[in-house]
């Protein structure tokens, strides 16, 4: 046996325990969830009876006919879209400012990164206070009070308790998106900053010697170089957003008529309040598919890149 083969074999044995654990605790459990989602286990007694009765995709069918779940899917779509866009745009913007190495930039770098260290529950509670509308128009609270003191009472609004919507986009999501963006944009900034600092100085200097302006430098040199960063940021923020629970649960409950409801919240209620295990598992599987739709193309492209 060659040395290389020996090494490979040793390596295989070293990762074997992890493989086994992942196999059981990830893939086998995913399989169990799929199995539950196609069962009739929609009460504690049917679950305890242990008798598995296959009912096909009926739980999924029921979900897609459920107006609340339809709202959840639209909310997830819009939340993900705006949360992603907000984090990436703000992240690039902040990273470019910090990268100029002005005085105090390292202080601001830490300041922007700081929200990421806070739990979503805390963020949700605090932003919940900030955006609490107060009893309009007589006694506004939070931002509405600030607006009143600034003389901009006409901008006062119901924020996350608003039931207005444009198409399927519930405007009550806006404050939630702001809070989420506040939390994660610092992290995206840090990713971009690392990317910007990895661009060779010579390249920038060469471009400058050739007479390119700041904007050209940004769009023609920096942005293409940062493309992999954008992709990873989209993956990280995207999968967080698809499974978001704690921020919204703490901030809005799920809003009047579920305007800020998300699949994870619905899953929690179905599972632990209503004892509808099969329905809850179906929601979990739908969430898994949504996350997989984001992650798998990324894994595929990075796998191809390595080869």
């Amino acid at each position: 046996m060659s040395v290389q083969k020996k090494k490979a074999r040793a390596g295989f044995f070293i990762i074997l325990p992890s493989l086994a654990f992942i196999g059981i605790f990830v893939y086998y459990f995913i399989f169990l969830t799929i199995r539950t989602s196609t069962s009739n286990w929609n009460s504690f007694s049917s679950l305890l009876s242990g008798e598995y009765k296959f009912i096909g995709l009926r739980n999924y069918q029921r979900l897609f006919n459920d107006p609340r779940f339809q709202t959840d899917l639209w909310n997830t779509l819009f939340f993900t879209l705006f949360f992603l866009a907000g984090c990436i745009i703000l992240g690039i913007f902040l990273a470019n400012i910090i990268d100029k190495k002005l005085r105090g930039s390292s202080f601001f770098q830490n300041l922007f990164l700081f929200p990421m260290a806070i739990s979503y529950v805390v963020t949700g509670t605090v932003w919940g206070w900030i955006f609490a509308p107060g009893n309009l128009p007589t006694s506004p609270q939070g931002i509405n009070l600030l607006l009143e003191n600034l003389g901009w009472s006409n901008l006062q609004w119901m924020w996350y308790t608003s039931t207005q919507s444009i198409g399927n986009f519930n405007l009550a999501l806006i404050p939630v998106i702001i809070a989420a963006t506040w939390q994660m944009s610092g992290y995206v900034m840090a990713m971009y900053l690392a990317g910007l600092r990895a661009i060779p100085e010579e390249m920038i200097e060469a471009a400058q010697v050739d007479g390119s302006t700041g904007t050209q430098l940004f769009w023609r040199i920096k942005m293409p170089m940062l493309r992999p960063i954008t992709l990873s940021a989209m993956i990280v923020i995207g999968h967080m957003s698809l499974k978001i629970f704690d921020l919204i649960y703490a901030m809005t409950g799920s809003g009047p008529n579920n305007v800020t409801d998300m699949p994870a919240i619905y899953m929690f209620e179905q599972m632990f309040r209503s004892n509808r295990y099969a329905i809850a598992s179906a929601i979990a599987i739908i969430m898994l598919i949504m996350v997989a739709a984001v992650i798998i193309p990324y894994l595929y492209s990075s796998f191809r890149g390595e080869r």
Partner: protein, 415 residues
Amino acid sequence: MKKLVGIVLLSVLSFTMIFAQSGQVEIFSWWTGGGEEEALLATIQDFNELYPNIQVINATVAGGAGTNAKAVLKTRMLGGNPPDTFQVHAGWELTDTYVIPGLMEPLTEYLKAWRVYDKFPEGLIDIVSYQGEVYSIPLTVHRSNVVFYNKKLFNEIGLTKEPQTWNEFIKALEKAKAAGYTPLALGDKNKWPAGQLVENLMVAEFGAKNYNDLFNGELSFNDERLDSTLEKMVQLMDYVNVDHAALAWQDAARLLYEGKAVFNLMGDWAEGYFKTLGLIPGEDFGWFELPGTQAVFVLVSDTFGLPKNAPNRENALIFLKYLASTRAQSVFNPIKGAIPARIDADPGDDPYLIETAEDFRTLIISPSIVHGSAAPEAFVTSFNDAINNLVTTKNVKQAKQMILWAAEDVNLLTD
């Protein structure tokens, strides 16, 4: 050698002796906040004075209204690792989830042996029973059809008499609105406070007996009185603070404390909350039953059950017997701000609690929906969703349809 054998024998003996008198008992609850935790700790301390050798393991799980605790409990019950006894709301929350699947031990014979079976009102025994057997021992009783009001504002807007009828109530709300106050404080961020309002309107509209029959399967949900209930709720929404969806029940109660709102319908745990804020019952705030429900006691009760295969069954029974005693009920309840479930226990010296304890002895008892006593948990979640939809869209027809679907889902729709 003899000495050694003696020492060994002695130590074995003493070990078994300690073991015989002692051991542990694990009590599972969600009492982690405010007066609840104090009440629980005081009760455990009192229990330890009686049984110094039984070590009480206080397993509490924090989280509003037991949401997290219930999830943990379900996992433990499913995994075959039950606590020795656990807190649960009287009625369907226990029956549907644990009794019907056969996870609980009936307690009727113990209650009779301890001579306490007839110390609880019949209506309450009915709620904690399934097929003639009692499955949990009631410790505390709360009433949830009480409207609290700020006495100062009440007088200021020119009200002299507590409203007795629906029309008087609406007139009072109208007066409060005209004076620029929030007439009825509501905080339904967590959905159930709006559902609680509706269930009380249902009691008023159907009457206690018919309301109870809805959940016995003797009366169908598909009833015109459900429409008129929902219409009344829509009518009430004109008098509610506009930011109700951003507030929890405590925030709504606070509006009354801060002198911004006149009325607040809430379970009487709000009474305890007002007292913690420094208000004096009868002086700073008053109370009356929601008009139409004067003759009814809408009940939320905390009880303790005995799971099958409880690891320390003997100690659990000792603890349950203790909880059923007037001694334990009088220690626990005044601190929590509830009345004892036993009619012969001392309710303390709070004027509200004395009055409520008297009502509890004499009135008809109806179980609360949103607190899990009247219907299975699956119904409660859907019911809350329907009401949440109603207060947002004011669409009575749609809300009724949602309630009917929910009832059908748990086999409560009888026609």
